[in-house]
């Protein structure tokens, strides 16, 4: 119940902030969609960071580290630190400059104007919307399942379930509905200003609470937990080995039960997760003595008697706990043994998606000046590090025998962090961390809802109905209407339990990345023609669809392009091929078609020197 109360207080605060922001609304469309270009460096940093870090940053990073080990940091975090800032630097400031000059609100307005083509808008619109909907669904679904897990036990009579992890928690349909309504209210009334303020607030919340959680879990799982178990100081080494064995066996039983359930329910993702849990439990079982010795060595350091009994009269500090938690992890989780080097390298292309996210484009346009971008460009990699390093370590610790066997670990890796918070921390902290996870989710959802509303209003409705037929006030209300519609559609889609949507995440990012060459060429290549751009988008979409269907529509989660060279086989992310095809087609078609009019080129490029 404590968690439920904290979540409700947090959501109430957020609503208050959004409604307060609405009191500053100037009544114009520019103010509603771009906060009248009034956002300074700090707010821009927080809103860009909050928007790019989805639920995946907290929940997914620990889940991926649980599966793959520390390699996920290099694959997803340090690469993003380099590439996101590159996108802000190369694309963001330049688009902001053109947006200010020519009054754009959406990406499609820019492309239509730059390429003098209405068709490019018609082509891009369904692609951008199609790619962002799964992204929205991931947030809505993640919020529902997080709330259910974290409020479990609060309403046992009203919301009973078979699983002890969710029994008595708010059902996902209700949790998702609450989150959708809260986001809708502050976006509806506060517009971009409310969204930016809420993002800044939420970013602070999830960064601070993430760090607090890291410290608490480290202390709990590290050698501190061993002392809790051995307060009487009578456990011998042999008993420690027996404890390790019991833990590993219980984890194995948990994994086997999850596997049986997955076979019964037919969930392919659950099946893979349960298999992974069994592999990890067997690994623990094979190394019980080695693990016990590691812990024995650590615990003995604090045993003043130095005999065969554990009798700690001095508790280890935070760093000792950190050390014991990490040292308990297996070699495969502390290295990148399971990750292909070429896959790791080509993963660098995925964060380029930020260059084509429509909601990031809209945030760029809110900047007060070009100099407002400097702080986000510099601080973004550091912020990523602050959030990701603790989460990756927590995911690695979850693979060790330090996690108690009862209750059993969830088979879904994305549930690892909420589970640890729920079982290893106090109700109060669990409530605050839930607020942090929801903050990370909502700080992306709000921008995405707002930008979808803006796209429908600008790129379709007023573009074809005629802008002059509507007053500024009417256009704001039309945008609000579209936002309500999009929130409702997303929520209804989430009710159909599209579980596989989580596996679509990387495909969405690949889709946006494949449009990256187009935006770079539009900004830096005078010779880009509308035919070249249209051909590039069609080629990207076609190649994307080819690989997407070859992956059995994302159900084959390990799908890679394989290239045999001699005796070696190299794996590449599909995005490599999609981007290559899109770039080659764009260049070749642009070069063989008539160059753009000089007058248009002059509007977008400074004269050649």
């Amino acid at each position: 119940m404590t968690q439920f109360v904290i979540i409700m207080i947090y959501l109430g605060l957020l609503l208050g902030l959004g409604l307060f922001a609405s009191t500053m609304f100037r009544g114009t469309k520019k103010d509603y969609m771009q906060a009248s270009h009034s956002i300074g460096p700090f707010l821009l940093l927080m809103s860009l960071f909050g928007t790019t870090m989805t639920a995946f940053a907290l929940v997914g990073s620990s889940g991926e580290a649980f599966k793959e080990g520390i390699g996920v940091y290099g694959m997803l975090a340090s690469s993003s630190g380099i590439v996101h800032s590159l996108c802000f630097f190369l694309i963001g400031v330049k688009l902001w400059s053109l947006g200010r000059k020519y009054g754009y609100t959406t990406q499609i307005q820019f492309f239509r104007d730059r390429l003098q083509s209405d068709r490019i808008g018609l082509l891009l619109f369904p692609i951008l919307v199609g790619l962002i909907i799964p992204y929205l669904l991931i947030g809505v679904l993640a919020s529902g399942s997080t709330i259910q897990q974290m409020t479990s036990g609060a309403f046992p009579g009203m919301f009973p379930t078979d699983s002890p992890a969710t029994h008595g928690g708010l059902p996902p349909w209700l949790g998702s509905l609450i989150i959708c309504l809260v986001v809708l209210i502050y976006v509806f009334f506060g517009g971009m200003r409310g969204t930016a303020w809420a993002n800044a607030f939420q970013t602070i919340v999830f960064m601070v609470l993430g760090l607090v959680t890291f410290v608490v879990i480290a202390n709990k799982l590290g050698s501190g937990s061993a002392f809790d178990k051995n307060q009487d100081g009578t456990t011998s080494f042999e008993e420690l080995v027996a404890m390790e064995e019991t833990t590993a066996k219980a984890k194995l039983a948990g994994g086997e039960a999850a596997l049986k359930k997955a076979i019964r329910d037919g969930g392919e993702e659950d099946f893979e997760n349960a298999e992974e849990a069994i592999v990890q439990a067997k690994r623990l079982l094979e190394s019980t003595e080695e693990n016990a010795r590691k812990r024995w060595t650590l615990i003995s350091k604090f045993d003043k008697n130095q005999d065969d009994k554990i009798s700690p009269d001095e508790r280890p500090g935070f760093f000792e706990n950190l050390a014991s938690a990490t040292q308990a992890a297996g070699h495969d989780k502390l290295t990148r043994e399971h990750i292909s080097k070429t896959k790791f390298f080509t993963y660098l292309l995925i964060p380029l998606s930020v260059g084509m996210f429509p909601h990031i484009f809209q945030h760029w346009l809110t900047a007060k000046s070009a100099d407002s971008f400097k702080l986000p460009v510099v601080a973004h990699p550091i912020f990523i590090m602050i959030v990701w390093v603790p989460c990756v370590l927590i995911g690695v610790w979850a693979t060790t025998q330090l996690v108690p066997p009862v209750p059993p670990l969830p088979s879904n890796p994305n549930a690892i962090l909420p589970f640890l918070v729920k079982t290893q921390t106090s109700d109060l902290l669990a409530g605050f961390l839930t607020a942090g996870i929801l903050a990370a989710i909502m700080s992306s959802l709000d921008s995405q809802f707002l930008c979808m509303g803006a796209m429908f209003e600008n790129d379709i409705f007023t573009h074809y109905m005629g802008k002059d037929r509507f007053s500024e006030k009417q256009q704001v209300w039309i945008t609000r209407g579209f936002i309500v519609l999009i929130v409702a559609i997303t929520y209804l889609l989430s009710l159909s339990h599209p579980v596989s949507v989580f596996t679509l995440g990387v495909w969405c990012f690949s889709g946006f990345s494949s449009l990256f060459p187009l935006v770079v060429a539009a900004l830096y290549w005078r010779r880009l023609t509308k035919t070249g751009a249209i051909a590039s988008v069609i080629a990207a979409a076609g190649t994307w669809w080819y690989h997407f269907s070859a992956s059995n529509y994302a159900t084959n989660r390990g799908y890679m392009i394989e290239w045999a060279l001699g005796t070696e086989t190299y794996e590449f992310m599909p995005v490599t091929m999609i981007m290559l095809v899109a770039t080659v087609v764009m260049i070749v078609v642009s070069l063989v078609t008539e160059p753009p009019e000089q007058e248009v080129v002059d509007r977008f490029f400074s004269p050649k020197t």
Binding site: I70, G74, L86, F89, S97, R112, D113, F319
Partner: protein, 83 residues
Amino acid sequence: MAGQRIAWLWVWGLVLLLIVLHQDNFFWHDDTLVLGFLPIGLFYHACISVAAAVTWFLGTKFAWPKYETENSAVDSKKAEDAR
């Protein structure tokens, strides 16, 4: 002007270097713990994040382009016609 071009080349050279250093094949199988708790592969990439921040700081300091639109009026009519 020439000075800014040289600074620009330096910064983009550093970005390229970061991308090369990001592929740390040398720590692939190394499970050494830095300070006793941080796996070296993770520590190295945390350093890459810090190095990225330093590089981008240099970029904003020495290779930041001049933008003409700080307070320029919107060329709305022309843009509207074009759209």
